[in-house]
């Protein structure tokens, strides 16, 4: 068993699987991170992932273009990010409830649209091929990591790039500073002349955008097909990874990779002769996350003003 677990083929497959699982989680979690750091908690991202997946899928089927697919997925995400922010910013709504509402709403909507557009047919439309991979010359020939890190589709590269970029954004760009200010002390940010509502709205829209992209990634890059259950908890995992990563991009990447690794491992454990009931191996990712959280991620409750509506004239 040891040699099986150290073979080149195994390691390559394991790492590739880890990255496949982690990529959409990182995308969605980064978006939610921006939303939450501005003080809005959007629990509806699971739903936005669904609707984004459908929108991206349908668009690519109809237009034949991946770019349009991702774009429309993202735009639909923005729409629901906007609904969330209208509820949160304009109505001072209860964000946890609103998020759950968006989740259920999107569940219904994506199912409904799927039927309206494609019908209930035995012949299921599929995208001819998933997003092509782009090997990076030279680097992609390195054994093990070459195949997994440097022979990926464009979205994986962009995601890996997005982590330091967003980190930079929050550290060095004024908008990032503004988002943090609005999420930490909206009153002070308001007094400093920042438009709290506008910043929060934009952040929620950006979060929706990435959730939509992350959703569209599923049919376009991974499965080439759409079902109503395509997400199976991606949004929730993104929230877990976000808390795990203490609202920091690198932490999110780390959390997603650990979760991806545990996921990759569970299938490979089932393929060994270990006499474990399969449900126990299926628990592995969740158990690993739980244990990691207990031992390494204590405290930390996110931005101070998270999920708190900002009302200026309340004295």
């Amino acid at each position: 068993m040891i040699e099986q677990f150290t073979s080149v083929v195994f390691l390559t497959g394991f790492l590739a699987s880890m990255i496949r699982m982690a990529t959409p989680i990182v995308i969605v979690a980064l978006g939610e991170m921006v939303t939450e750091r501005s003080g809005i908690m959007n629990l509806g991202i699971e739903g936005i992932v669904w609707i984004g997946a459908f929108a991206g899928f349908a668009t690519t089927i109809l237009t034949g273009s991946y770019i349009w697919g991702f774009l429309v997925g993202g735009i639909v995400g923005i729409l629901f990010g906007l609904i969330m922010s209208v509820v949160a910013v304009e109505f001072h709504g209860h964000q946890i409830v609103a998020g759950l509402g968006i989740w259920i709403l999107c569940n219904g909507l994506s199912g409904l649209l799927n039927r309206s557009i494609f019908g209930i047919s035995t012949e299921r439309p599929t995208i001819v091929a998933t997003l092509p991979t782009i090997p990076i010359p030279g680097l992609s020939n390195i054994p093990i990591i070459g195949e997994t890190l440097f022979n990926q589709n464009i979205i994986v590269y962009l995601t890996i790039l997005a982590v330091p970029l967003i980190n930079f954004f929050f550290k060095e760009i004024s908008w990032g500073l503004n988002i943090d200010a609005v999420g930490e002390q909206p009153r002070a940010a308001d007094a400093a002349g920042l438009r709290v509502g506008v910043i929060r709205t934009l952040s929620a829209c950006f979060g929706g955008f990435l959730a939509g992209i992350g959703g569209a990634y599923l049919p376009l890059a991974l499965y080439s097909i759409y079902t109503n259950d395509i997400s199976t908890g991606l949004g929730w995992m993104a929230i877990v990874v976000l808390v795990f990563g203490k609202w920091r991009p690198w932490g999110i990447l780390g959390g997603a990779l650990i979760f991806g690794a545990a996921n990759a491992l569970k299938w490979r454990l089932q393929n060994t002769d270990l006499p474990l009931p399969y449900q126990i191996t299926l628990m592995l990712p969740y158990l690993v996350t739980l244990v990691m959280v207990i031992f390494f991620v204590r405290g930390g409750s996110g931005p101070s003003a998270l999920a708190k509506p900002f009302v200026r004239s309340e004295n």
Partner: protein, 509 residues
């Protein structure tokens, strides 16, 4: 003072209400170029609301604002800054997790540049601090700074925005006498550089010493506007309170001659939230029938000391006893049970805003046999006892079922004091008991403390208001950087001496 005649800002017939409370009623206010204009009034008189309107934080229900002769609508602080108006709030508008520079440039760079140019900002900031003598480390995080430093950051923030009009809301309430002098110095420099300053205060001496003109507000109405040189303290006080102000403190001696030690603190050492030592090796005691005042600038360990003594913060070293019982690191409930009362420094830490007065009054005693049986609360008893307390301590509220949030600051504080004193504590730890309350409430709270002392209670009074410490205490301890740097008896105390101790100049006593 080149341009003293022109009108910088004119506010006409400003009316603003919050719910059913009328904060400002037909207020007229005029600020001239290059003047320091005092806005005087008690807490709740509408001073801050008026200036918040000018700064765009609130919208008036009616009335208009005229800046440089033009009618303006200031819909947000953003607009206010564009009009050259800056404001230093009493509660600083800062993001504690960010650095000084980031706080200063916050909200400025979003439109004209994308990447933060911290280097350029630092350069300008250092330049401005040099000109006005406002020294602050630009790279420190806000939470690492002292209150005085944080105030300087607020002023720098406004100056960085090149404001022409600067509003200072009760700027001296957190400063030592020496720091106050320094601040006044800075304000004069600002005016010399062509700024106009609105100085909000409720302290008459300050209004007299720094301002050029004074407008007095009472109950949301303008009572008078005077040139400072044409008026005097007595007249202003009369305008402000509507009656003669003289503290009628009933300082009667503790009748029982035999004093004994109630609180004993030995070598107490406590850490702050950030892990540094906030209280270092502190030893003192408080006797029955005695008020011991702890003076000092905010942030010198008083908060942590109080929290340690009330079980809210872990004690690192040393011990303390109440009536001979070692209560070091006991739970808040245990300490409470040993008849220790606690008036916390933040009203928010004492009252549950959305609870009724009954619930707030019962918060620290609902579990006693008097009010609950087998875990079930005796509503009737709670209600009647609360009604009694509210009457006895003269808390003004529509009924005992009113929500605490709806009370005025002074009445909230009276409610807290009532709750703590009515438990008949042996030791009362009172942190800033009169912070943010109007003169009437201040007077009655101080009298309640004195009455408690007369009955033989031991009181540990922590306050940054020197007059309060001086007028109430039998002994005064001065805290600086977590240590007790001096002890003075009532007889030998004076503001100058204590001020020096507070500022860190040690005396050899």
């Amino acid at each position: 003072m080149a341009n003293t005649t022109g009108v910088a800002v004119k506010m006409v017939n400003i009316t603003k209400s919050f719910g059913s409370v009328l904060a400002d009623d037909q207020v007229n206010f005029e600020l001239l170029h290059g003047e320091i204009h005092g806005l005087l009034g008690e807490n709740g008189a509408g001073k801050t609301t008026l200036m918040n309107i000018l700064y765009g934080l609130h919208q008036p229900d009616s009335g208009e604002i005229i800046i440089q002769g033009e009618k303006k609508e200031i819909s947000s602080p953003h607009k206010a800054v564009e009009e050259g108006i800056g404001m230093v709030h009493q509660h600083f508008m800062q993001i504690p997790t960010l650095t000084v520079i980031d706080n200063v440039i916050l909200g400025l760079e979003s439109l004209n540049s994308f990447k933060l140019n911290r280097a350029r900002a630092r350069e300008r900031l250092v330049q401005i601090s040099k000109i006005y003598g406002l020294q602050v480390d630009p790279d420190a995080c806000i939470w690492q700074l002292s209150i005085g430093d944080r105030q300087r950051v607020e002023i720098l923030k406004a100056l960085y925005r090149e404001v022409k009009i600067l509003i200072l809301d009760e700027p001296t309430s957190v400063l030592t006498p020496q720091e106050t002098t320094e601040l006044f110095h800075t304000i004069r420099k600002l005016v010399d550089a062509g700024l106009s300053v609105v100085f909000i205060t409720h302290k008459l001496e300050e209004a007299m010493s720094i301002t050029d003109r004074v407008t007095v507000l009472r109950d949301g109405k303008v009572v008078a506007t005077r040139k400072t040189q044409d008026t005097n303290k007595a007249e202003l006080a009369c305008f402000m309170v509507g009656r003669e102000v003289l503290f009628r403190l009933k300082r009667e001696p503790y009748e029982d001659k035999q004093k004994y030690e109630v609180l004993r603190v030995e070598n107490l050492t406590v850490k702050s939230d950030r892990g540094s030592l906030a209280v270092r090796d502190v030893t003192f005691n408080v006797q029955s029938g005695e008020i011991v005042g702890i003076a000092g600038v905010d942030g010198n360990g008083q908060t942590e000391l109080v929290q340690a003594l009330t079980g809210l913060r872990h004690v690192q070293g040393g011990s303390f006893w109440v009536d001979g019982v070692n209560l070091t690191n006991a739970s808040p409930r245990e300490i409470l049970e040993h008849k220790v009362g606690h008036i916390p420094e933040e009203q928010n830490d004492a009252l549950v805003a959305n609870f009724t007065l009954i619930e707030n009054l019962m918060l620290n005693r609902h579990y006693t046999d008097e009010f609950s049986k087998c875990g079930i609360l005796d509503q009737g008893k709670m209600e009647s006892r609360s009604r009694e307390l509210i009457r006895q301590y003269d808390v003004k509220a529509s009924s005992e079922k009113a929500i605490a949030r709806t009370l005025s600051g002074g009445n909230k504080q009276k409610l807290i004091v009532a709750r703590e004193i009515a438990r008949d504590p042996r030791l009362l730890v009172a942190a800033h008991p009169t912070r943010g309350v109007d003169i009437g409430a201040e007077e009655s709270i101080r009298n309640l403390l004195l009455e408690k002392r007369r009955q033989g209670g031991a009181i540990l009074l922590v306050s940054t208001k020197l007059d309060e410490v001086l007028s109430l205490s039998d002994r005064i301890l001065v805290m600086e950087k977590g240590r007790i740097v001096g002890e003075v008896t009532r007889e030998e105390a004076d503001i100058e001496k204590i001020g020096l101790l507070m500022a860190g100049t040690r005396t050899t006593t």
